[in-house]
Symmetry: C2
Subunit: 338 residues, 2 copies
Amino acid sequence: MTTSSPNRPATIHQVARLAGVSHTTVSRYLQDKESLKPTTRVKVDFAVKALDYRPNLVARSMRTRRTNRLAIVMPASPEAFPGRLLAAATETAHQAGYQVEMVSVEGSVRSRSARIIDLARSGQVEGILSISSIDVRGRASAEIPIVATGTYDDNLRGLGELADATEIREIIEHLAGLGHRDFFHVAGPSTFASARNRKSVYLETIERMGLRSVGVHDGNWTAKSGYDGITSLPDDCGVTAVVAGNDVVATGVIRGARSRGWEVPRDLSVFGWDDLEFARFTTPSLSTVAVNREAQGRDGILRLLAEIRGEPAPEPTTKTINRLIYRESTAPPPPKSR
Amino acid sequence: MTTSSPNRPATIHQVARLAGVSHTTVSRYLQDKESLKPTTRVKVDFAVKALDYRPNLVARSMRTRRTNRLAIVMPASPEAFPGRLLAAATETAHQAGYQVEMVSVEGSVRSRSARIIDLARSGQVEGILSISSIDVRGRASAEIPIVATGTYDDNLRGLGELADATEIREIIEHLAGLGHRDFFHVAGPSTFASARNRKSVYLETIERMGLRSVGVHDGNWTAKSGYDGITSLPDDCGVTAVVAGNDVVATGVIRGARSRGWEVPRDLSVFGWDDLEFARFTTPSLSTVAVNREAQGRDGILRLLAEIRGEPAPEPTTKTINRLIYRESTAPPPPKSR
DNA sequence: CTGAAAGCGCTTACAG
DNA sequence: CTGAAAGCGCTTACAG
């Protein structure tokens, strides 16, 4: 005999007893009201309302092996919280009837990957979208789909993995089109795939187009590294265009240039990356690369859903994850080089 | 006889069989390895590793009635995605051993509240932090703790519910201290509790301090409403200080003022609210109120955890959810009024 | 159209 | 220290 403890939601059995039917029938009511005889349906309907019954979704998940939940795995570093990506990913998942669980992982690639495997086996989620660097090669057996977005990713095939390449090339082509010949690059740390990609594509493009690089400063994504990079150059280096690792670096480059009497964009053009919110408000405003985080989140979830359903990978909803934005920090070089 | 289907994780029974023990013993091993005899432990250990076993957490949750998961309920409006709050909330929850599920709700307060009740009964989460307007009065029986953060909230007691009051008073006191006597307020829409609070505290403070309000413009959080508000004033109104509903409104006020020849802060001081990222980069940079979203998220989760554990509500980790920031858009009024 | 039975994979008294 | 049994709240063939 079931006793209903206080402070515990009603169960399907209690509904069944009140309605005078079997719990099987109540379950059927939950799946498809139409499958019940009208008089039965009325009885169950009454009992459900009377007890304010809501099914225990954990029990349902256990039985059906479906949770309608996806996990988004991200690095445990609050200063880079991927809000825009998450917003789009969550909305896309919700529209498909899935909940989203946020999981932040820290530690080495190895320990993070172990955490993801646990998650994949836990039965709690039906798929994983990782925006953190993971390595789950060879452990995919008996597990759920795992999709990685490219930009944050160090060693997995993912969304737009080599996308960075295209934009660095476009930046240089644009600057060359304005008349620039003498370039400088302030790179991010080589531990980031994106930094490595940008640097190597910078060097390749300069060479391919017959331009000149006055050097590459290996920085660390900070404004200071931009400042240090530009101020370390000799006065007569002749540089007129800087490809900065990101917007923050670009602000450092601009301050450093000004400190030595080079005005931007009069004497020096500076290109950033990220289109952070401040980029349009600085003086001068920053030419930069807008990363479509919404598209990353949305397309990541759509790819994951397709894998869960056993469908082929969908086309990206947009061709251009990254888009160049031209603002005040870039202009033609000064008429005669310094 | 259990047959192991392909592509299905190992179960506790399979581990037990391989180890030559009962599944009860394996379960015990999972709870506390020390409770097993060393020779038994070795056998189980081997089997767990050999099968790469991970417990099914859904089954565990069903049995223990614990999920180690909290839900954060937010409005389904991507343009205001509460990234910073979420980052802090997630980190706090993770540190306490909880996962976080993001749930966005839309529709009327009524339908949103129904959704939250479903969630509370689903067994899937142990507590709910709502940063959306909800109304769950009288339905709390047989359910899990629900905590609401104040700022986004329309009708629930929450974190810093009346916090807005303090800051509006401080803003006016600060401006009066600079010498301002003639104020103007561009309010947000009255459907927002925060807008209503700010407006009423504005009026009260002006009156209490014997200052003068040249009017209140009822806007809608947009820059245009700021522009319209300031340009709607007569030339000889004598205003020297504007309390804008938020930073976006403030930018509109500044543009509108400039369009009629009033320079900020020379002729007019303008105070914003939110300290959005651009606030420090505009010209002039904005005096504004920085809302500590991190503290909101962190304290919301801490309060929720305390309720779950049946502990008294913890002290907020910071006294000042909101903090005034003085930048270039405020200064003493011009020597003689227009 | 409905019910009795089995079972999803665990944990937890209860014996021994 | 270990095992047999019960049960968490559902869903789903299988009969009728």
